[in-house]
């Protein structure tokens, strides 16, 4: 589902990604760990085209991303690949439900009623049923991240990219997000999750990719979780 071939990305002449190659099969979950500043976020951003790669190729959810700028491909990629940010980035002027239904209505062109229905189901999934009218400002950090997850899932993506989804949260809120991610994992999504949250890694990962200095230095299978 995700295939990376010799992906190179440089900022200001310095290679942040130094020829990354890896494969992640459909329905598998990989956790990406590694020291801060080694390029993990950059890799995720390249996979859904928030950054343009300098060379190499990325094959994700049936789309080919190359170093050339290609808007139609980018649009398709973003309909297949969801992204959950460390800092949530909810839209503050919209309600929780509007945050979730914006893309389905405007990008997938779903009727508002159908989008609302699906949105409520997703809110139930992330344990926020009944909060659809709230504004992001009225939510705790954990709740915001759960809304962000629901928002990413709302366009029925095949791949979900998560950038340290629990690290901006107070410790007591992390478990509620882990819980939701475990539920999401059971839906059979392919997920690539950057995280330092060990309980999350152990309960989620099929594979662990260890990243350092712009490359994957080790890939190992996680032990199966009961």
């Amino acid at each position: 589902m995700i295939q990376l071939r010799q992906v190179v990305k440089a900022f200001d002449g310095a290679n942040v990604l130094a020829g990354v190659s890896a494969t992640l099969d459909r329905g598998k979950i990989a956790c990406l760990i590694g020291p801060s500043g080694c390029g993990k976020t950059t890799l995720l951003r390249c996979i859904n085209g928030l950054e343009q790669i300098d060379s190499g190729a990325i094959h994700v959810a049936g789309c080919d991303i190359s170093a050339k700028e290609d808007r139609p491909t980018l649009r398709r990629v973003r309909q297949e690949v969801g992204f959950v940010f460390q800092e949530f980035h909810l839209f503050p002027h919209l309600t929780v439900l509007e945050n979730i239904t914006l893309a389905p209505v405007r990008v997938r062109l779903l009727p508002q009623a159908a989008a609302d229905k699906r949105g409520r189901e997703l809110l139930d999934l992330v344990g926020l049923g009944g909060r659809e009218g709230a504004r992001p400002a009225q939510l705790s950090g954990g709740q915001k991240q759960r809304v962000a997850i629901a928002r990413a899932l709302a366009i029925d993506v095949k791949v979900l990219l998560l950038d340290e989804p629990t690290s901006a949260l107070d410790p007591e809120m992390r478990e509620e997000v882990r819980e939701v991610l475990r539920d999401v994992a059971r839906q059979g999504l392919t997920m690539l999750c950057v995280t330092h949250d060990m309980p999350l890694v152990t309960s989620l990962a099929d594979e662990i990719w260890v990243f350092d200095a712009g490359n994957i230095v080790e890939r190992r299978l996680a032990k199966a979780v009961p």
Binding site: Q79, E87, H89, F91, P92, H93, L102, R106, P136
Partner: protein
């Protein structure tokens, strides 16, 4: 005589009001003839803005003042055995400045009127003016009576204005000498009534215009002095008589091509009062409320234009192609970089040969186009203040660039901008007084008219301030509340 009314009255009103207040506070300081003689100077007050032929800078030597009033002042001073010294004042503040003791005598085309005589002492006349009607060549009007029901232009606070006010016709008021004739050419008015000096210099020679030969009325220019300075008045009158007797005055006027049959006519009674001795009454208040209504309507309409245009310009400047960015930037810099007064002039007078905009329409357009540039910068700032995460989150969800702007960035920017936008509206409300230069009679203009009629700036000034305040304060309070709410709203953190 108000050819001196060049500057926008709006800006003159405040100094005049202050001068009036000062006058109330400090009694006029008298200066006797003996004091003038021992000082060796006769200081005379006038306004360079009145221009040729009264008093103006010599184009060949800007340090030197020339004009027929300069020569009269020099000749008078010589007869007193002193030298004349010029003191520059806005024309509208000459009387209060005289009373305050800034100079000894006003010599500045001051018309002899009963209400001026009530306030200050006036000398014998040194010049006779005739009110002259100017019309378009092809129009059939041959007298003031024939203009019944038509629109006639003149300058504010002139004897011509007080004459027209008594007639059954519509008056258009201007601030400068050239504009009434420009509007006559453009067909916005049917005639102009002004002193013959102005008519001859700015009207009669204009292509397509004709001046009627007969004066509607005659009056005189006199010097103005403090009532307490009796000895000085006598000395100046004697000197003037002397100048008339030995032909000095005539030769000065001839040099400036001002000598005509009018000057030989016998002495005249003071002309029409500028002000009827009126109180600030209910009728005045009604006119003030009407002025406030025009100010409000003008501001609301102008802002209704400025706001969406500003948003469009901000979006263009940030997100459009190279050419769009350049055009939006050029628009903003052009309209911010030049005075709104100039823009109003260009719209109303400059474009008149192409499009004859109605004064109110030109005012709305002028203020609206100008404020759009400021609104554009407010909205641009608000858009730039939104964290990058917002557009990245939208992009990651598959929203296109324009969808991101429309559904994510713009609604947020609008909230951020709202307090600043409200403040700008309050500023516009006050700036709208500038449109009096293109003959719109709004609140401030109404105040200056009333101030002349009741012979005091104080009550009309306070009424005007109260009306502005009652319009702007609720808006300003609303802006503050918005600001507080946005400050307390953690949603602004964008996370």
């Amino acid at each position: 005589m108000s050819e001196r009314w060049l500057g926008a009255l709006a800006r003159l009103a405040l100094p005049a009001l202050l001068a009036a207040c000062l006058t109330l506070a400090a009694p006029a300081s008298a200066r006797s003839l003996a004091e003038v003689k021992s000082a060796g100077t006769l200081t005379w007050g006038g306004d360079l803005q009145g221009g040729e032929p009264y008093v103006f800078e010599n184009p060949k030597n800007h340090a030197e003042l020339i004009g027929f009033e300069v020569e009269i002042a020099d000749a008078l001073a010589k007869r007193l055995g002193v030298v004349a010294k010029f003191s520059q004042h806005d024309w509208s503040t000459l009387v209060p400045s005289l009373e305050r003791g800034d100079f000894d005598v006003i010599l500045s085309g001051l018309e002899d009127t009963p209400d001026r005589r009530a306030r200050i002492a006036v000398s014998s006349p040194y010049f006779v003016y005739g009110l002259t009607i100017t019309i378009r060549n092809n129009s059939g009007y041959r007298s003031i009576e024939a203009l019944k029901g038509q629109k006639v232009g003149t300058l504010n606070q002139t004897v011509a204005h007080s004459l027209l006010k008594k007639m059954p016709l519509e008056v258009a008021l201007y601030e400068g000498q050239q504009e009434p004739y420009a509007d006559l050419v453009a067909g916005r008015t049917e005639a102009v009534l002004l002193d013959h000096i102005i008519a001859q210099r700015y009207g009669c020679n204009v292509k397509g215009l004709t001046c009627l030969p007969d004066d509607v009325m005659r009056g005189t220019y006199v010097m103005g002095l403090r009532k307490s300075d009796e000895t000085l008045l006598v000395a100046l009158n004697d000197a003037l008589t002397d100048m008339q007797g030995d032909g000095t005055l005539r030769s000065i006027l001839e040099r400036w091509k001002l000598w005509d049959s009018r000057q030989a006519a016998p002495a005249l009674a003071p002309a029409l009062a500028l002000a009827e001795d009126r109180q600030f009454d209910l009728g005045q208040l009604t006119m003030f409320l009407k002025g406030a209504g025009i100010t409000l309507a003008l501001s609301v309409l102008a802002f209704t234009l400025a706001s969406p245009l500003g948003m469009a310009l901000a979006l263009m400047r940030l997100y459009s192609g190279k050419i769009g960015k350049f055009l939006a930037g050029a628009y903003i810099e052009l309209f911010r970089g030049t005075p709104v007064l100039l823009q109003l002039y260009v719209l109303y007078y400059g474009l008149a040969p192409l499009v004859k905009l109605d004064a109110f329409v030109a005012a709305v357009l002028g203020l609206g186009l100008n404020y759009a540039a400021y609104e554009a910068e407010v909205h641009r700032g608000a858009l730039l203040s939104i964290s990058r995460g917002q557009s990245e989150a939208a992009a990651a969800l598959g929203l296109s660039r324009s969808q991101t702007i429309r559904f994510v960035l713009f609604p947020q920017a609008l909230r951020t901008a709202l307090p600043a936008v409200t403040n700008d509206f309050v500023a516009l409300l006050k700036d709208s007084s500038l449109v009096s230069v293109i003959t719109v009679v709004e609140l401030t203009k109404r105040m200056t008219i009333a101030a002349v009629e009741v012979r005091s700036w104080l009550v009309p000034g306070l009424a005007c301030a109260a009306l502005y305040f009652s319009m702007s304060y609720p808006l300003a309070a609303f802006a503050r509340r918005l600001e507080r709410r946005l400050h307390h709203d953690p949603a602004q953190a964008g996370r």
